[in-house]
């Protein structure tokens, strides 16, 4: 099996086709479900509509002639299709989801309830402002919380996710550099351990990315930053707490150096959960930072979104915030929708993710300032507890120090066992757990990044650690087969990713039989 630099196996070659496990072929509680297009047809429908008498259309010659071929299901069929499919998913609600860097915390249902109040869910973004004062107030209150939590000057609420927030923040930086006559600065510094969105964002805006190496302890050396800074550097994108789960101890010095060199400090705030209510990033010298409401502020991940990535901005960048934003006017709250001098234009239609604003604000009000700080402290406590318990066996690359919200291990403890990080992850599934983040950050070989979040009880953490230690023990005793064949107790065994990518099948087409 070939390994790349991070130690990730590149094929599915680890899996010998084993005897079919019972669960794989579908049973009463873990069904096999055909595709929508294999169940439905173009005649069936699960929506009743009034009959339409013939009338003279105004479509001109633009009417649809090409087939639609959309499968329809009646409501009972649809209900079953989507319930059965859903049963094949793991979720936070069904078990610990220790994905490092993802902050898979409890998603309170109060948030879902408030987001569905008709005054939020059934309101159009372009209604007259006099009819949406409550919505604007949600935006204002959310902005206030974010500003207080970060000690910054302005916040752009509209980014639709973390990466969008990065784009927004880096655009503001670009605009600020241009406003200063520094548009020629074309380099962005990004530590090796950064999330992929950081270099991708910088490149997206035409910057070239200069990598900053990590120190042996997993943190960034201010000296390395100073060495990389120069008149061509527009900004640094630094994640703090970083993706190794560590607080950058020299962050204030780094900020100072960056500013001294005429650059800005973009902070990736994906890991804000570790410090919310405890550390205000503005006090560290950041200029822009996105906050993933779908991580730190509990809006649900939804199988991959939607999220929201508001960006807080320092005084230097505040004049370059994008539109729209809310401000107080004579007749109540106003929405500034058109870019005034210096402001960025829109980065999205309308005003951003109101549904997420409502959820996040509900979450904040529920926790209060005290609860948010306690949540951060518990998140850190939990990660350190897992770290302390697993360190008995697991190899922690940056072991000596306390971690923040997540504990990072490498695959050192698996050396010679024939078990890879991937194999280990798949074996966790058989024991009832979703795997941790694997092979990220890239600075560690066979990385295992475990973020329990504050939502996990000690009981669950203990069970998790027991299972992890038992698995590790078993791997080291030579029972590689348990790992390389895993999972055996999931609806599917390992999937052939190479095959998927080699000749991509990205949509359903009827089998030859039906077609011919």
């Amino acid at each position: 099996m070939s390994m790349n630099r991070e130690g990730r196996p590149t094929g599915t070659g680890t899996v010998a086709s084993a005897e079919t496990s019972a669960a794989t072929s579908g049973s009463a509680l873990l069904p096999n479900e055909p595709l929508l297009f294999e169940i439905g047809d173009t005649e069936h429908s699960g929506v009743d509509l009034p009959d339409v008498e013939p009338f003279e259309s105004r479509l001109g010659g633009f009417g649809r002639k090409s087939p639609l071929n959309l499968a329809g299901l009646t409501e009972p069929e649809a209900m079953r299709h989507y319930v059965r499919l859903s049963r094949l998913n793991y979720s936070i609600d069904s078990g610990m989801y220790p994905l490092g860097s993802c902050t898979m915390k409890h998603n309170p249902r109060l948030n879902e309830k408030t987001a569905r109040l008709p005054g939020f869910a059934d309101v159009h973004p372009l209604q007259p402002l006099s009819t949406v004062q409550g919505a604007l107030q949600v935006m204002e209150e959310l902005a206030d919380w974010l500003l207080t939590l970060t000690n910054t000057t302005a916040v752009a609420l509209s980014p639709k996710a973390g990466a969008h927030g990065e784009l927004c923040g880096m655009m503001a930086i670009k605009a600020a550099q241009e406003a200063r006559g520094q548009g020629h600065r074309k380099v962005v510094l990004v530590p090796e351990s950064a999330h992929g969105t950081n270099p991708a964002t910088a490149a997206f805006l035409g910057y070239s990315v200069k990598s900053i190496p990590a120190r042996d302890d997993g943190t960034v050396d201010v000296a390395a930053v100073e060495a990389a800074l120069g008149p061509d550097v527009a900004a640094i994108m630094l994640t703090n707490p970083n993706t190794c789960g560590l607080f950058e101890p020299q962050v204030i010095e780094i900020a100072a150096a960056v500013h001294a060199a005429g650059a800005f400090f973009y902070c990736d705030g994906a890991n804000f959960n570790a410090i919310m209510g405890v550390v205000r990033p503005g006090d560290l010298g950041i200029d822009a930072m996105h906050i993933n409401l779908h991580k730190t502020f509990s809006t649900p991940h939804g199988g991959g979104g939607p999220g929201a990535g508001p960006v807080v901005l320092s005084a230097a960048l505040a004049p370059h915030a994008p539109v729209p934003f809310v401000r107080r006017g004579a007749e109540g709250l106003e929405l500034v929708e058109h870019a005034e001098e210096g402001h960025l234009g829109r980065i999205t239609a309308f005003h951003g993710q109101m549904g997420m604003y409502v959820r996040a604000l509900t979450y904040m009000l529920s926790h209060g300032g005290d609860g948010l700080a306690q949540a951060a402290r518990d998140a850190v406590l939990n990660a350190n507890y897992v770290k302390a318990r697993l360190e008995q066996v697991f190899t922690a690359p940056f072991g000596g120090q306390a971690c923040m919200h997540e504990a990072l291990f490498d695959d050192g403890f698996l050396a010679g066992t024939g078990v890879s990080t991937l194999d280990f992850a798949k074996a966790m599934i058989d024991e009832g757990f979703h795997p941790m983040t694997m092979y990220f950050p890239l600075v560690v070989h066979g990385a295992m990044l475990i973020e329990p979040t504050e939502s996990e009880s000690k009981q669950t953490l203990d069970h998790f650690c027991d299972v992890m230690l038992e698995l590790a023990g078993d791997a080291r005793e030579g029972n590689a087969e348990r790992f390389t064949a895993a999972p055996l107790r999931a609806p599917r065994r390992r999937l052939d990713e190479t095959r998927a990518a080699r000749a991509p099948v990205l949509s359903w087409t009827p089998p030859e039989a039906a077609a011919g």
């Binding site: 989507y82 409550g134 973390g162 991708a200 649900p300 991959g304 939607p306 109101m354 302390a388 599934i429």
Partner: protein, 447 residues
């Protein structure tokens, strides 16, 4: 605090196991100057019923679309979403799952995405679709960048019928340079975009039904673009229209981007929505966003995985096609369920009903003295010219309990030509009584 499982005793036990004196010790790396041991100046935690009461009070200060006659569209549409859709998307296994990076325990999400992609290809008449973008506007900006990569050209032409917000987003994304040509607003459906295509043009961006409700001739646009080696990007903000209007793919579109909100997703003051993106098979490796593909597992059973990730940031980093990571999974699910419930027969009927109501609305408006209807061909949306400025008129109508549409000047404040224009939409929910109430109130306001 109800969301935090630890008692103080448990915290103490855990600290003992860690060997730390207190939690503060775990924060040792934080510079002391920036470390707060007392709560920030924020309200304290609050019982559920008090939080709910506060949010209800804020919600009560907004007028809900369902509270009275409603004609607002312009890129977001009020349709009826079946109750089963919202029920299903709230299932824990959909709502609280992460991106399906572990396919063995994520087949639900993956199969759904595969079905979604299939639905989008069929709706748009394209060969491949991705697993969603943030929304229609950002998808449009990404399509522009994709076209530049594909053609290695840089000039982009934006039609005067493109939603002004979409235009603004493209402008923010690509910057205001010579290679971005934004044609001026074309409320009458006019426009000379085809004449502006040249050999440096990467793509032209055409919306249909356009912002003003006009149906645009895509075939002509495709032919003109292709003749100069440029691509045609088609934008659709009202996806229901494709139940009645020819698929862009059948007319030569190279990239189709759309706002999918109309299916499955409530208005929610503008988001979250779901961006759709579809293209030709040959272009797939320049497409941004996630893709779900079919494969088999170790036992040979069909299964699904995220694939072609070498386009994406988490594998390719600065060489990725986009920086997008989190997209609109749950909104895509809602879209897919709603469309799965409709099916072809239902979507066609829904589209016809929308069109019928729009025809009635158009006829009723056109009959009001002093009002000019600008659309000859339209789907469910139209533009009228009032004899007076539109914004105060719309406000006056709102005071009368009628949300009458969008004054174009709200989106194009600097263009005097549009000052008197309102864009109005009808959907399956528009009743005869709604239209009568609007006509009445308009007559009052104009009197």
């Amino acid at each position: 605090m109800r969301y935090l499982p630890h008692s103080d005793a448990e915290r103490a036990d855990m600290l003992a196991a860690i060997g730390a004196a207190d939690v503060d010790a775990l924060f040792a790396a934080v510079p002391r100057a920036a470390y707060n041991t007392t709560p920030l100046e924020l309200p304290p935690h609050s019982p559920e019923f008090l939080v709910e009461a506060h949010m209800r009070q804020l919600s009560g200060r907004n007028r809900a679309a369902g509270d009275g006659p409603f004609f607002v569209g312009a890129g977001a549409y009020r349709h009826h979403v079946p109750a089963s859709v919202d029920h299903l998307i709230q299932r824990s296994e959909w709502l609280t799952a992460y991106t399906p990076y572990q396919p063995e325990v994520s087949q639900g999400t993956l199969q759904m995405l595969f079905e979604f992609q299939t639905q989008v290809t069929r709706l748009t008449g394209m060969e491949v679709a991705n697993a969603s973008m943030y929304d229609g506007s950002t998808a449009t900006a990404e399509a522009v960048l994709m076209a530049r990569r594909l053609t290695r050209r840089s000039r982009i032409l934006l039609s005067g019928g493109l939603h002004p917000h979409y235009r603004d987003v493209v402008r923010t994304y690509v910057g205001d340079g010579d290679d971005l040509v934004c044609l001026s607003a074309s409320p009458e459906g006019q426009g000379d975009i085809l004449d502006r295509i040249d050999d440096s043009t990467a793509a032209i961006v055409v919306q249909t039904p356009d912002f003003y409700g006009h149906l645009r001739d895509l075939q002509a646009a495709a032919d003109a673009a292709h003749a100069r080696g440029a691509l045609l990007i088609v934008v659709v903000t009202e996806i229901v229209s494709l139940g009645l209007i020819e698929a862009p793919g059948a007319l030569g579109a190279d990239i189709v981007v759309a706002e999918g909100q109309s299916l499955g997703n409530p208005l929610t003051f503008g988001g979250p929505y779901v961006g759709l993106m579809a293209t030709r098979k040959e272009f797939v490796r320049q497409m941004p966003g996630r893709l779900c593909g079919e494969t088999v597992d170790a036992d040979g059973n069909r299964g699904f995985v995220l694939t072609l990730s070498t386009r994406e940031q988490h594998i390719r980093r600065e060489k990725a096609t986009s920086n997008i990571c989190t997209n609109s999974g749950l909104c895509a699910l809602a879209f897919s369920i709603h469309l799965g419930l409709l099916g072809e027969a239902g979507l066609r009927k829904l589209a016809r009903l929308n069109h019928l109501h729009a025809v009635r609305l158009a006829d009723a408006l056109a009959a009001i003295p002093g009002i000019e209807l600008l659309n000859r061909h339209f789907f469910n949306e139209m533009t009228v010219r009032l004899p007076i400025p539109a914004a105060p008129a719309v406000e006056a109508l709102a005071q009368r309990g009628i949300l009458a549409g969008v004054p174009v000047s709200r989106l194009e404040p600097d263009d005097p030509q549009v000052e008197n224009l309102i864009v109005l939409a009808a959907t399956e929910l528009t009743t005869g009584a709604d239209i009568a109430a609007l006509v009445n109130a308009l007559e009052e306001v104009l009197a």
